[in-house]
Point group: C2
Chain length 274, copies 2
Amino acid sequence: MDRNIAAKFIDYQVSCKDCCMANVCLPLGLSAVELDQLMKIIDRQSPMSRGEHLFQIGEPHKSLYAVRSGSIKVYIPTEGGEEQVHRFILPGELLGFDAIEGGKHTCAAVALETTSVCAFPYHRLEKLCHTFQGLDHELHRLFGKEIANEHDLLQLLAKKSAEARLASFLLDLSNRLKKRGFSEREFNLTMSRHDISNHLGLAVETVSRLFARFQNEGLLTVRRRHIQLQNMPEIKELFVNVSPTTSKRRIAPANRKGNIGGSYRLRKVKAAQV
Amino acid sequence: MDRNIAAKFIDYQVSCKDCCMANVCLPLGLSAVELDQLMKIIDRQSPMSRGEHLFQIGEPHKSLYAVRSGSIKVYIPTEGGEEQVHRFILPGELLGFDAIEGGKHTCAAVALETTSVCAFPYHRLEKLCHTFQGLDHELHRLFGKEIANEHDLLQLLAKKSAEARLASFLLDLSNRLKKRGFSEREFNLTMSRHDISNHLGLAVETVSRLFARFQNEGLLTVRRRHIQLQNMPEIKELFVNVSPTTSKRRIAPANRKGNIGGSYRLRKVKAAQV
DNA sequence: CGGGACCTTGAGGCTCGTCAAAGCTGGTGG
DNA sequence: CCACCAGCTTTGACGAGCCTCAAGGTCCCG
C-alpha cells in the first residue's frame, strides 16, 4: 500500500492529467489550456506522516490544498487543550478555505495517516482567477459548499440523536468515498473513535456502543477501524427519522420494512414510537 | 417608541452620519469621501413589521443589510417544516453574507419586531471595493467574523451543557448590546423561548427552567422577555466551567464565592463534583 | 514480553427531553 | 368593560438517552 502511494506520487510530479483524482479534485470544466496553467502553479509537497500538521491555527494563509492520498483532520483547538474536530478530508477533497477571508487559518489540519497533498499558492490562484472566469466561479461554488457543510453539522449537533449522528457520519463518508471512486460499502476509518466522538459531540463509549448495536442489528460489520455497510437503506432511515429535540411529527407511520436482526432494547422502544 | 423610530427613519434618508449606528455599523476607518460614496449606494428600505421576511432561502443575493433598529432572526428551514435558528441580528449588525459565494441565500431572515434595515446593493458594493482598498479589507474581516461565529456555535452545541449554552447566549447578547451603546445588564429579548431553545439545541422547557434556576440563584432577574443580569461574573463562570462531553479537568477546586440563593438540586450536585 | 494507545463492555445515575396541565398576556369581539 | 381565545411561558412528574467511572481486551511497537 505504501509502495503504491509512493508510485503514484511520482506520477503526480509529472501531471495532473495522470492523477487519479483529476476528475474530482477540481471538476472545473476548465479547458486544456486552463488546466495546464493551473497545473503550473501547483506546489506538490512531500508526503506528510501521521500526526504532522499541514497548518496550525493562526498561521498565515498561503495555499488551498487538495488531498491526493491519505486523510486529514481539521479541528479547532480550544482553551483547555481540548479540541473540536471539525471535519475530515478525504482524497480528492480540498481544504484551506477557512482562512481566505481573514488571511489566517482559523483551524488546524493534521494528517491522520501518511498523506500527500497538492498546494495551490493562493496569490497565484487569485491571479489565475482574474484570467479565467470559470475558475473564479468554481472557487465560489466550493466555498459555498463549505458553508453548507457547516450548516449540516450544526443541524446534526443541535437536533439529532446519537444514533442519527453516527448514521449520518457513516453515510457521509460512504458518499464521499463513492464519489472518489472508492467502495461505498466497505472502507477503513482513518480516524480514532475519539476523533469521531468528538466530531459528533458524543462520548467515546457511546460511539463504541453504537457500532456494536448497529452490528447486532445487521446494519453493518465493524472490526476496529474496518467498516462494511450491510444495509444502507436502513441506516438512512436512522438518520432521517430520529430528531429528539423539536420532536413532534415523526414522519408518517409507514411500515419499516425488514427491520432485520431487530430486538435490541433501544430499537424496540423506538419502533413503538413510530 | 414607534414614533421615535419613525422620526429616526427620516433622518436616515438624509445621511449615515446622523445615524446613531454609524460608528458601529461599518467601522471601516473610511475617509469622509469614501463614506459619502458608500452612503450614496445605500438603499433605505421601509420598515418591516414582525414576521415579515427580509429574504427567503434560495432567493438571489442582492444586498448586504445593516439593521438600524429592531432585530432579525436568521434561520434555515429544514425538510419537515422545522427550522434551525442560526443567529439573531441586533441593531448595528450586518447580515446577508451567507449568499455572497453562492449567489443565493442559504438562510432565511425574518423580523422579530418592527425593524428597519439599510441595504447595500451588492453589485455596487463590489464596484466600490475596487476603488477603496479599505472597504474590501473590511468586508473580508466581517466575513471572517461570520465564520468564527459559526465555529463558536458548533463548539457550544457539541460540548456545552444546557446551562453553559444559555449563559453563553445571554453573555453574547449582553456584549453585543453593550458595543452598540445599549445597557449590557438590562434588555428585552425580542425572540421567543422557542427561538432561543431552537438556537441552543434545547427543549423549550429546559430554557424556561434554566431561567427560573438562574433567577433563584440570584444570577439574573427575568420576567417574560425582560432580563436583568445581576451577577455577570458568576454567569461567565457557568459558561467557562461546564463541558459535559470531553469532561476531565473541571477547573480548579476554587471555592465558588457567594453562591447566593443556593440550595438548588442540580447546583448542589455540581458543587459536590467540583 | 511489557507498556501504551486504543477500543469495548458493564454498572450506575445525571441531564435533559417528553408529556401533560395550568398560568399569563394580548388581541378580538360582543 | 369583560369574556374568550390563541399563543407563549411556566411548572411538575417521569424516564430515556447518554455520560461517567472503572475495568478488562486488543493491537502495535520497541
